[in-house]
């Protein structure tokens, strides 16, 4: 149990890639009038998150409509009515629609001026918007209690939940909080987005969701395939070991020699013996079964490893030779009244 508990941190580390974490090394606050670089959140995180940048879009670059929707309790459902609420913007491809959730059933429908954002980024950094991920001030600074100072001239403030850019001079209850200090302490998770894959503003937000659902399906499919194939692999390996064990048992049952070469030697030797012995028996049986006429007889059969010699007392040697030659390859010699038949055993 203790060992298992000790392993928990290691397991947690292994599974850490599956858990959501802060992924941006630094932020850029993009306003219609200025670009504000914000330092990295925590220096210790820099190693793991790299130097990815997230652009926070200022309220000056999007339109916002706040709605209280009592029967709607998720952004996913709010998405479905976004086109009705932002009908002026959804028909225009230059705007990207985002929805941010406020308190209770409050929703903020945002129409981001994509062209303006891209133009500003290009002007300030000379880099296309495709290289960044984005969030809006409404999503990033949700639920702030006190105004946050952007620079000497401007601050962000929550006015009835809507994040607005206001002149710093108008702020009366300044807490002294700056955007740098805010991002360092921000711990809330927020969803970033990109411009490059959005194709149709009419369905921009739903496309984003569909894409995410598609990606998740892909993710689960890969995970399922991974598990299935890995399991199959493990089962196959396990079966292979069982088969190996069966093979070993067979070797012991048949008392097989250790190597295949030894087995082959024994089998070859036995097969050679079998062939020679079968030949000897075939030749002997052929002579023994010879049909002889009255007065004829087999005087002797001499069998060795190399030849079979048969002496037959007969007066019709040629006839017998022809009969034997149907079965065997024989040579014939005459020895008095005996005919000697010789057959070579190979």
């Amino acid at each position: 149990m203790n060992q298992a508990l000790k392993k928990l941190p290691m397991l947690d580390k292994m599974l850490s890639f599956l858990t959501a974490k802060k992924k941006f090394g630094s932020y850029l606050f993009l306003d219609r009038e200025f670009l504000l670089p914000i330092q990295h959140l925590h220096l210790t995180q820099a190693k793991s998150v790299g130097m990815k940048k997230c652009v926070i879009i200022s309220p000056s670059l999007y339109w916002v409509k706040k709605k209280e929707l009592p029967n709607i309790n998720s952004i996913y459902k709010a998405n479905k009515i976004a086109s009705a609420i932002l009908e002026d913007f959804t028909e225009n491809k230059a705007y990207q629609i985002r929805i941010a959730k406020g308190e209770a059933n409050e929703y903020f429908f945002l129409a981001i001026d994509k062209n303006e954002v891209q133009k500003r980024l290009q002007a300030h950094l000379g880099i296309a918007a495709d290289n960044f991920e984005f969030t809006t001030a409404q999503e990033f600074f949700v639920n702030i209690q006190k105004p946050i100072e952007l620079n000497e001239s401007y601050s962000l403030a929550s006015i009835d939940g809507t994040i607005e850019k206001v002149p710093t001079a108008y702020i009366t209850d300044s807490s002294g909080a700056t955007i740098q200090s805010f991002v360092k302490t921000k711990k809330d998770y927020f969803k970033s987005f990109t411009f490059k894959r959005e194709r149709n503003p009419n369905t921009a937000s739903t496309t984003g969701n569909t894409r995410r659902i598609g990606e998740k399906l892909l993710l689960y499919s890969f995970a399922a395939l991974c598990i299935a194939w890995f399991t199959e692999g493990i089962v196959n390996i396990k079966r292979s070991f069982a088969v190996s064990s069966d093979t070993q048992s067979l070797r012991e049952t048949y008392k097989l020699p250790a190597t295949n070469m030894e087995i082959d030697n024994v089998v070859t030797k036995a097969k050679n013996i079998e062939k020679k012995q079968n030949d000897i028996r075939f030749v002997t049986k052929t002579f023994n079964n010879l049909v002889l006429a009255p007065g004829e007889s087999i005087d002797s059969i001499k069998i060795s490893n190399t030849e079979v010699t048969t002496a037959v007392k007969t007066t019709r040697a040629k006839e017998l030779e022809l009969m034997i030659k149907k079965e065997l390859n024989v040579s014939t010699t005459q020895d008095g009244d005996k005919t000697i038949f010789k057959t070579v055993i190979k």
Binding site: K21, C226, W229, G233, N236, T247, V266, I273, S300, K302
Partner: protein, 135 residues
């Protein structure tokens, strides 16, 4: 590339790796199965051939049983020689009855004895058999 894309990439690579692992293990299992079949086939052949032609004990017992029947089952037959020199077993038989001769020859030829030499001489009295086998 966002976190989800990263996970997809990692899992896609893992899926490919596990697919390769599954295919590899399948091939490994096939090779093991083939090895099992081959071992079984070779084992049967090895056992059969070894028991048939390389079984010294069986060969010796066979010759002993055959000669023990002489004068009993084959009443007209006499064992004239019976010598065991190393792995060479030599037996001499004199058979007076042709039926007994046929039966004895059949027993010798239908056995798995390794015949080195088999001399059969037919004379006026009967048949002389000189058998030499390797155990």
């Amino acid at each position: 590339m966002n976190l989800l894309d990263n996970k997809i990439t990692i899992l896609a690579v893992a899926a490919i790796a596990s697919f390769v692992f599954a295919v590899g293990s399948e091939l490994f299992l096939d090779s093991k199965n083939n090895q099992l079949v081959k071992t079984n086939k070779n084992g049967l052949e090895y056992k059969l051939l070894k028991e048939s032609w390389l079984n010294k004990e069986h060969s010796k017992n066979y010759v002993d049983t055959l000669t023990a029947d002489m004068g009993k089952a084959y009443f007209s037959t006499v064992v004239t020689k019976k010598e065991l020199n190393g792995e060479i077993y030599s037996v001499g038989l004199m058979i007076l009855n042709s039926d007994e001769f046929d039966a004895i020859i059949k027993r010798i030829l239908n056995s798995n004895l390794k015949i080195n030499k088999l001399d059969i001489v037919n004379n006026d009295l009967g048949y002389l058999i000189d058998l030499e086998v390797t155990l």
